[in-house]
């Protein structure tokens, strides 16, 4: 490894005396004193969230208002701190989405355990779970910090969908049985 020797420049007289340096510093601080504050006044002003931010995980619905989660439990298995707990259930008859294999009966994310790693979002084959923009999560009790299915959908809302996988499946089934 090449060694580069840096020679320290000898101090000039002004630097040795130090007082001119102090005065120069004071000029800078005085300038800042009359400059505008850079502070974000937090509760009133909110920070701009950059795209791809990993906030609190949420469940989303597709543009038709259907829950996208099919309770495959991949996120539950991949979750490193084991924050997710899913109870799988079947889709109720006559709900208009019976062709979907399954839906979660209960879906809890314990936010005291969640480490915001985003693996659940990455692993989800249905693009049903997203870490969205909510960056502050607080509560007065442990049970309050567990997001149940209702709250997860409320926080998630509806995201635009590019695939409409289950619509395609139904269309294919209604046109002709693919396995026939």
């Amino acid at each position: 490894m090449a060694v580069k020797i840096l020679r320290q420049k000898p101090l000039s007289l002004a630097e040795k005396v130090y007082l001119p340096q102090v005065v120069a510093g004071m000029r800078i601080t005085l300038k800042h004193m009359f400059a505008r504050a850079q502070t974000l006044q937090y509760p009133e002003q909110r920070p701009e969230i950059p795209p791809g931010y990993r906030g609190v995980p949420t469940l989303v619905k597709d543009p038709n208002g259907r829950e996208k989660c099919v309770s495959c439990q991949l996120c539950e298995f991949v979750c490193p701190p084991k924050a997710i707990r899913i109870t799988p259930g079947s889709v109720p008859e006559g709900s208009g989405r019976d062709h979907v294999e399954k839906a979660p009966k209960a879906f809890d994310i314990d936010m005291l355990r969640c480490i915001y790693c985003g693996l659940c979002q990455e692993v989800c084959p249905e693009e049903a779970i997203f870490l969205q923009n909510q960056f502050s999560m607080s509560g007065y009790s442990r049970s309050e910090m567990v997001n149940d299915k209702g709250r997860l959908y409320e926080a998630g809302g509806t995201l635009p969908d590019r695939h409409f996988k289950w619509d395609k499946k139904r269309a294919a089934e209604e046109a002709h049985s693919p396995h026939a």
């Binding site: 102090v22 510093g25 004071m26 601080t29 800042h32 004193m33 504050a37 502070t39 006044q41």
Partner: protein
Amino acid sequence: MSLFFQLPVVIQMALKGLAVICVIFPIAGACSMAERKVCAWIQDRPGPNRAIPPWFAWMPIVGPALQKLGAFQLIADGLKFLFKENQVPGHVNRFYFVAAPFLAMIPALSTVTVVPFGAYIDPSGHTVPLILANLDVGILAVFAVASLGIYSMILAGWSSNSKYSFLGGVRASAQLISYELSLTLAVIPVFLWINAPGREGTLGLGRAVEFQSQPGFWGGSWFIFIMPVSALVFLIALFAETNRLPFDTIESEADLVGGFHTEYGAFKWGLFFVAEYLNMIIGSAVFVLLFFGGWNPLPWVPLSAVAGWFGLAGHPVVLGFVSVCIFLAKVLFMIFFFMWVRWTVPRFRYDQVMRIGWRILLPLAIANLLVYAIGIALIQH
């Protein structure tokens, strides 16, 4: 007014003293908030601007303005210090531990007595300084009593039974004693000049201001113009004496946690804090009196000239008030200057502090004294 003068002298003095304390104590408290605000502004932050009691929030303009300035944060902090649990750690020497903060307050408040803070013109045309005790020893009394403040730091550091406090106390004693030499030597030329032959000798601070309010070019110029080196040495030593950055190796939170008051909390810590600001105020006041013309509004413009322009010579109360305001404005500017330097310059290392004190400041002060002593002897002969 006349009722006041009919009271016994002791009660008069006590009332005067209380009045001064009632002014200086809130200023010391407000300085702690000013410190936070100045710090914030220099660092491009707004500073404390949240606390507000509801009945002030209902006021239209005044309430929010005070809130922005952090006035209520100051009150909240003060009350917190007052109502916090006043605990004493188990490993301390209880008596001295409790005594130390009070010992810090006593010299800080007693030096006020010999510092004049204004003046009025009596019917015979003399300028009379407003002062609690117009002692001839003036500056000596300030130095003597102020240096007693070291004892509180040493006691606090020693009685805390903690290595950080102890180191802080040791540093405090070393630093304060080192810089007191330069501080005193820097002032001597001023008093050599004031005590010209044929005049009544005095070390009173009022005389220093009187000397800066004479007519003529040399008479009216402030001592900072006549003796810039003295002023500089005095100012630097003052920074060290009041433990302000860049000389706050005593607190040095980077390596000593909090210095001599590491183990203190609640009101006892608050007393140390207020004492530090009181020392700053007294130090600034002495600096203003000696080098910045005291209550004279501008160099070559003495207070009596202002009184002449506005016809205030016959109104001692009004003129006294004006002079106190001028003086306080200068002192507050000095305190701002202290804060300004604090948030600009990084802390010196302990060995650097000692080197500056003994190898630079002290020789400079002695040389300055010699030059001025010879010069003054030549002029006054």
